[in-house]
């Protein structure tokens, strides 16, 4: 079949924070770059980030990148790679200041500097007490950031392909990535983007869970494409449940609410976090707070008629502070909880929020995978940044505000690496003759199938299976059942039927293709989680409990290692964690408490 081929130096898939940040590097370097996005760039999910971006600016009190690094390693429950963590924390000041120069409307201190607020797990002096490190624009930091970066790209004349969905990676016989196939949503046309560099910035896949803070578009498209192209996915058992999703609706309420003084209370109106984290209290790490909330609910101290949520209370704050620092939260609370938080507390539950794992990369944003005994052999031509990537800076649990930092730092470094590699290479490598065949056959199968399952049903089956078997607390028997069940659901997903046959803006077809990506992420998650027989960070199982030998159920002797899940045969292998930073001493293993 004759498929149009568009030739670019680089293609960036995704126009959220990471994609837009790398696009700035490529456009300003004068390279011919295409940015593909399923949605207009400012509709990407970075827009929904609220509380801030971490950087040790020290605008309100003393702070150091080494303290930030310590907190991030500890937050990761020592699963994060310390070279990447050092790189990120050191770079934070530079990338946040750049954003300010792009025009981002940060809130200000009285002296005119960027406003900073405390956030969970961010402490001064190696874990002593909460520190103001989160740089914020009210509670709309992601929105302000995404718009500022889109605007900078308008200035840099970046070429966008808006409402295009990438379908599959194209790798040649030597494994080099030479582009992607993509579909223009308005026409249904499949096109080949032939490139020297392909950057994945496709975001997370939080839609594998039934209850999620994530947007509809967060379907793990980059992860699905990578998995189908033979690239393993790293540490997919680690999913962050954000403590404060609006009960029922799932919409996010930022941790910044607690940073500004908000308190979690159970049905006895008790500030229960004092029992679980005597030092950091409500500002402990997210995994710790979510587990505490789930425990309160499990033990009958939940609120409401079904005792199935807890309350986030800011009624003691000055209404002027709420209006100034948390105006978006007030709107969300009124809209989705029917509660004005100035007058009454907000009902909240732990809700799936963020994927710590992803496509394995080094801290330069180059995708890596095991080859000939080298765990970190580069996949030439492929880069990844942001939530879809795993550098790994978040390890087993991400700190709030480190995601916006991650996408800035690694978006930029992936862009820089691509620029460097393109300038060092001579020409495009040849496209394989069958470059588009796989994508075309997938699309044709969906278009032509009769008597298959509906997309809505199959997607719900994925979400229910994940929610019921791999939640905040995990149980050995449920994980086992879940792993078997998700393989059954896969059969359903591989048999999707759509009724809409139109070529024009066929959202049924798009959703079917998204569901084929979701199932890859769901399998990776369930199978990796079943295999990891310890508790660490966000992955906590009933058969790995707190003991003197294994504090918090963490087993460093056997499990201080990254999971790599391969789609083929659902094979699992492990690679070592890098405990060696670039220039400073290692943050030594320690029992984690807040």
């Amino acid at each position: 079949m004759n498929i149009p081929v568009l030739k670019f130096d680089a293609v960036i898939v995704g126009a959220g924070g990471a994609g837009l940040r790398s696009a700035i590097q490529l456009s300003e370097a004068g390279l011919k770059t295409a940015v593909l996005s399923k949605v207009f760039p400012t509709r990407s999910h970075t827009v929904a980030a609220q509380g801030g971006v971490a950087a040790s600016l020290g605008n309100s009190e003393e702070d150091h990148w080494r303290w930030h690094m310590y907190d991030t390693v500890k937050g990761s429950d020592w699963l994060g790679d310390q070279d990447a963590i050092e790189f990120m924390c050191k770079k934070a000041v530079e990338v946040v200041v750049e954003l300010e120069h792009y025009g981002m409307p940060f809130d200000r201190t009285d002296s005119g500097k960027i406003y900073q607020r405390p956030f969970g797990g961010h402490m001064s002096n190696f874990g002593e007490k909460p520190v103001r490190r989160s740089c914020a624009a009210a509670d709309r930091t992601g929105h302000a950031m995404l718009h500022a970066m889109y605007q900078r790209n308008v200035k840099a004349n970046t070429q966008f392909f808006v409402e295009w969905m990438a379908l599959d990676l194209i790798r040649d016989s030597e494994g080099h990535v030479v582009g992607v196939t993509a579909m223009e949503m308005e026409t249904g046309q499949v096109v080949i983007f032939h490139t020297r560099a392909t950057i994945f910035a496709t975001g997370g896949a939080g839609r594998i869970f039934y209850s999620s803070t994530n947007a509809f578009i967060n379907t793990g498209d980059g992860l699905g494409m990578a998995a189908r192209a033979g690239i393993p996915l790293e540490d997919m058992e680690f999913w962050q449940f954000h403590p404060t999703g609006v009960a029922g609706a799932g919409v996010l309420i930022t941790e910044g609410v607690r940073g500004e003084g908000g308190i979690l209370r159970n049905s006895n109106k008790e500030r229960f976090m004092e029992r679980y984290a005597p030092n950091a209290k409500d500002l402990a790490s997210r995994d710790v707070v979510s587990r505490a909330m789930a425990t309160e609910i499990k033990e009958g101290r939940g609120c409401g008629p079904n005792k199935d949520y807890v309350l986030l209370d800011i009624t003691h704050l000055d209404p002027a502070t709420i209006m100034k620092r948390l105006p978006g939260i007030r709107e969300i609370s009124i809209q989705f909880a029917g509660v004005d938080p100035i007058k009454a507390p907000i009902p909240v539950v732990p809700t799936c929020h963020y994927q710590m794992g992803g496509i394995p990369t080094d801290y330069h944003g180059r995708v890596v995978m095991p080859r000939n005994g080298d765990f970190n052999a580069v996949v030439p031509g492929l880069y990844a940044a942001g939530e879809c990537a795993c550098a790994s800076v978040h390890g087993a649990n991400r700190l709030g505000t480190n995601s916006l930092l991650d996408l800035l730092v690694f978006g930029k470094s992936a862009g820089d690496s691509a620029v460097e590699d393109i300038k060092g290479s001579k020409a495009h490598r040849d496209l394989p003759k069958d470059a588009a065949d796989y994508s075309l056959s997938r699309v044709a199968a969906i278009d032509n199938r009769k008597g298959g399952s509906s997309v809505a049903e199959a997607r719900l089956a994925i979400q229910r299976t994940m929610q019921d078997h791999a939640g905040v607390f995990r149980f050995a028997d449920m994980l086992k059942k879940g792993a078997a069940q998700i393989l059954e659901v896969e059969k359903q997903v591989m048999n999707l039927e759509i009724k809409d046959k139109s070529l024009v803006w066929n959202t049924a077809r798009m959703e079917a293709l998204e569901t084929e990506n979701l199932i890859e992420v769901a399998k990776a998650t369930m199978i990796s989680a079943e295999a990891r027989k310890e508790s660490r960070g966000a992955h906590v199982r009933d058969d790995a409990v707190d003991s003197p030998e294994f504090p918090n159920g963490r087993n460093d002797k056997e499990w201080l290692k990254h999971t790599l899940w391969h789609r083929e045969g659902n094979k699992i292998e492990y690679k070592p964690v890098n405990l060696n930073p670039l220039t400073v001493e290692s943050v030594e293993l320690k029992t984690r408490s807040y």
Partner: protein, 236 residues
């Protein structure tokens, strides 16, 4: 709210098969947990997968699901389903070409947004740290930077309907004032020159539909008034 059935009348048009647009009558049963119009659309789509609309964040910050709801522009994700008179009439945003069903071609809208140079212009070499801005100066940007580019305002504006190619429209002008009001921006006179034209700015006749429909509670008319004031001041 318990289970209930809701009636819709939805604008349908698929250029691949329909000669002309038509209104489809369709109903859907909602669960007690369905509160917003977008929840109902999700249920409808499970029933008929050919209904095409944009959506993403479902919490009113991405601006995808703007549509004309019972005659008024708004976001499906922020509209309470039970507050709407039935049958609920859904149409694409007015004044822009329809691609399919509730999906409009937003090219002209974004062209106008891009025409105001929606980025900070400051040609001084960037300092090592952040540029300073007082909290009071920063406050000037409130009510401006929060725009989500949903196009509810511009597509409810008669002046934009008549001259979408010449009148910048409320969303673009709100963005223009966002940069004029920013103490860090140095392009004030260039920005005003760019708007000094019988159409680009001055086609606003303060009808204020934009203010009425903005799902974020912003006030483009006020921003436009402030640009006009700046023009006048500059002329004296």
């Amino acid at each position: 709210m318990t289970k209930r059935t809701v009636q819709f009348s939805i604008y349908r048009y698929d250029p691949d098969k329909d000669e002309r647009p038509y209104m489809q009558d369709i109903s859907v049963e909602l669960d007690s947990t369905d509160h917003k119009l977008l929840d109902a659309l999700t249920k409808l789509k499970a029933k008929d997968d050919s209904i095409a609309y944009r959506r993403s964040c479902r919490e009113g910050v991405c601006g995808s699901d703007a549509m004309n709801i019972n005659g008024k522009n708004g976001l499906a994700c922020l509209t309470d389903i039970d507050s709407l008179k039935q049958p609920i009439v859904l149409r694409p945003l007015p004044g822009l070409p329809v691609i399919r069903d509730l999906i409009v071609d937003m090219t002209q809208f974004f062209k106008q947004y891009h025409s105001i140079k929606p980025y900070l212009i400051n040609n001084d070499p960037p300092p090592e740290r952040e540029r300073l801005q007082s909290p009071e100066d920063r406050e000037e940007l409130n009510g401006l930077y929060e725009c989500i580019l949903c196009a509810c305002c511009s597509t409810s504006c008669p002046s934009f309907w008549w001259n979408p190619d010449k009148f910048v429209g409320p969303a673009g002008l709100l963005a223009a004032y966002r940069f004029l009001a920013d103490t860090r921006d140095q392009a004030t006179s260039e920005r005003l020159d760019n708007l000094e034209d019988p159409y680009r700015l001055f086609r606003c006749h303060t009808i204020m539909n934009c203010v009425d429909v903005c799902p974020k509670g912003l006030n483009p008319t006020q921003a436009i008034g402030k640009i006009k004031e700046m023009m006048v001041k500059r002329a004296i």
